[in-house]
């Protein structure tokens, strides 16, 4: 054990990869593929889904029914990832996602979670004082909007489908997607015109 702890990290990684291959858990090629997919995942993927949902009612319906299937249909690889649930913001309800237990996050469509998403402060306050959290992000919801907090505790991952901002009539998918950030799809902010 001491030898393991003292080994330099490159040697340790090589040893683990060798063991994974020997035990037929994962080949080098599979690890390379998984790393490529992980690096490619970013909020731009989720933003593309949101923009498509704003333009295409059939895609929106699919996205709300099965987020992973909708992502796959746009060429976003979801194989082997947890199911993706999509929470739609409406005139009356705003969704906010938190993982109070750790940092569950829809990585396939949003990439790595922002550091604050994993902080104890966000996790504790989002469930109890979501309005206070939104205020700190300068997020103003129309009066009377109810906040629904979704605590991501188990096998699903959750993203928010925000409302399309006013003043974007006639915009194409890429331009709409450029308005949508990871924070909008977590629910601490809402898309706004620059």
């Amino acid at each position: 054990m001491t030898a393991l702890l003292e080994a330099d990290s490159d040697h340790l990684l090589a040893a683990i990869r060798l063991l994974l291959a020997e035990k037929q858990i994962a080949t080098d090629d599979e690890i390379t593929l998984a790393r490529e997919r992980t690096d490619k995942a970013s909020p731009a993927q989720g933003a593309r889904m949101v923009a498509r949902a704003w333009l295409d009612p059939a895609f929106r319906a699919l996205m709300l029914e099965d987020g992973a299937k909708a992502a796959d249909s746009l060429g976003i690889p979801m194989l082997g990832l947890p199911p993706l649930g999509v929470l739609e913001n409406t005139e009356t309800t705003h969704n906010l996602v938190v993982c109070t237990l750790c940092s569950c996050y829809p990585r396939g469509v949003l990439g790595y979670p922002p550091f604050w998403f994993k902080s104890v402060g966000y996790r504790a306050r989002a469930i109890r004082d979501p309005a206070g959290v939104l205020a700190e992000w300068n997020t103003v919801l129309p009066a009377g909007t109810a906040i629904r907090v979704v605590d991501s505790t188990a096998d699903y991952r959750w993203m928010v489908l925000p409302r399309r901002p006013a003043g974007t009539d006639g915009w194409d998918e890429a331009r709409l997607a450029s308005l949508v950030s990871a924070e909008d799809m977590i629910g601490v902010t809402v898309p706004a015109l620059p």
Partner: protein, 91 residues
């Protein structure tokens, strides 16, 4: 299987006081009452998977709670959480 609309109470159980464990039921919900929204699917029990033990496949539900029944100063209108069936007692 629990139907949508079923009132449930989250078990007021604290396995973490009895020894090492891995629990996906947040402490703030134990003993509180909510309503099943829908069955999300069946998944292997993380409480066993975490220890590399044989794990049963369990129904997982989305359950809604009134936040002000948990915290007097709660700010949300609704709180929705994924919970496994063995943690839920139908009322």
């Amino acid at each position: 299987m629990l139907e949508a609309g079923t009132a449930v109470r989250v078990r007021d159980d604290w396995p973490e006081t009895r020894g090492p464990c891995h629990i996906r039921t947040p402490h703030y919900l134990r003993g509180h009452t909510g309503t099943v929204i829908r069955h999300l699917g069946n998944f292997r029990n993380p409480e066993d998977l975490a220890f590399a033990r044989p794990a049963a496949t369990l129904p997982l539900y989305h359950v809604a709670f009134a936040p002000n029944s948990i915290w007097p100063d709660a700010g949300a209108a609704e709180l929705v959480v994924e919970l496994f069936e063995p943690w839920l007692e139908p009322l």
